[in-house]
Structures are given as C-alpha cells and as structure tokens.
Assembly symmetry: C2
Homo-oligomer: 116 residues x 2
C-alpha cells in the first residue's frame, strides 16, 4: 500500500506533512478498547459470549476459573464498552455490546489466520 508516496528524506530537514489528527479523547478511548482486547483470557471470554449471553458463574464454570477472576476480567471488558451487563434475579448476564464489536473481533481473528 501507499507505494506512490515519495521517499525523499535527506539529512534532518524533514518536510512537515499536515495529518488529520484524531482528538486525544478518541485516541485514548481507542487505546483502552484495544488494550482490553489485548489479553488471551479476556479474548477467550469474549469468544464464549459469541454464542450468547452468559452469567459470571457460567463463565467461571466453563473456564474452570474463580468467579472473582472472571468478574474482574468482565469489569475491564465492560469499562471498555465491549460487553453489556444485565441483572436477571441472582445472576448478572454479560453479552457482546453490539454487532460492531463482533465484526471487529472476527476481522482481527481472520486477519491473523490469513497471515499464518
């Protein structure tokens, strides 16, 4: 890509190119989003949610890990707006926040699978 860009960079006198910059807020939130996605165990949790909503004890049971651990991971995913919470009696159900996120994840998985 971008193969038509000139590569003229002689000594330290670089010509400044004005780039359209995203706002600090957007960059920070995007970094948080990616950061939340950047861990194997959280990615596995999201993978389980692909199949539909799950409560904390279900996820703990399915992954054979403590509820505390699962809860803390879900908190990070929730803060990054990757999952929704919904209380249903004693249980709290977590689900993927929207179709956007499903697509983002599948894109990333597919991209990685291609480059193998």
């Amino acid at each position: 890509m971008s193969s038509e860009h000139t590569l003229n960079c002689e000594s330290t006198d670089h010509q400044m190119v004005s780039v359209i910059k995203r706002s600090d807020d957007v960059i920070e939130d995007t970094a948080s989003l990616f950061s939340a996605l950047g861990e194997v165990s959280r990615l596995r949790l999201l993978e389980l949610l692909f199949d539909g909503p799950r409560c904390v004890s279900e996820l703990a049971h399915e992954t054979e890990q403590s509820m505390s651990l699962i809860s803390q991971r879900l908190k990070i995913l929730h803060q990054a707006r990757l999952v929704n919470k919904e209380r249903q009696g004693k249980h709290i159900y977590y689900s993927l926040s929207d179709e956007h996120i499903v697509q983002l994840l599948n894109n990333a998985f597919d991209h990685v699978e291609e480059h193998k």
Copy 2:
C-alpha cells in the same frame, strides 16, 4: 444483539454449550495484535503512517521524542505485523502493513467516536 437467546440459569447446574473455539495460536497472536494497538503513543505513530511511509528520524522529529523511543515502539508494531520496514540508504522507512489494518483502525476510531 442476541436478544433471542434464552436466559435460563437456575442454581449452578449450567448447560454446556459447545462453542467453536479458535486455536490457541490464533488467540495469542490476536491478543498480541490488540495489545500492540492498545497504547496511545503507538496509536499516534500509526496515525502518522496513515499519511504514508516515514523514517524513524522523521517520526522522532514530528513527535518531538527520542529516536530510541520511536524505534522501540516501531519494533512492537512491527512484531505485531502492523507495519512494514524498508531500508532506503541511511534511513529505514516504516509503513502500515496493509489495507486490512487501515480498515481495522478506522473501524475502531469510528466506533469510539460514535459512542461519545
């Protein structure tokens, strides 16, 4: 999404649902990819590369940071296959690896900008 899924979870007897799992390798590489994207300064670097290839000294100059720092950040981005390296005489030019990545980034930025 997934609003038609049943939420019947009584006591701890959860019914197991067989989910199609991605391989450990794919999950790990995807986590690395997201992890590399999950930091403000690296995201800013990628943003600069949206405009075309840049060498380390250019990026250091434009961001007013040390070449060492830029070089280390680029290394992480390169290891995650987010950017390509190409030597051109004294300079090493970095560029976004492919259009897939451009789309992934723009998707994420747009998603964050929407939810504000």
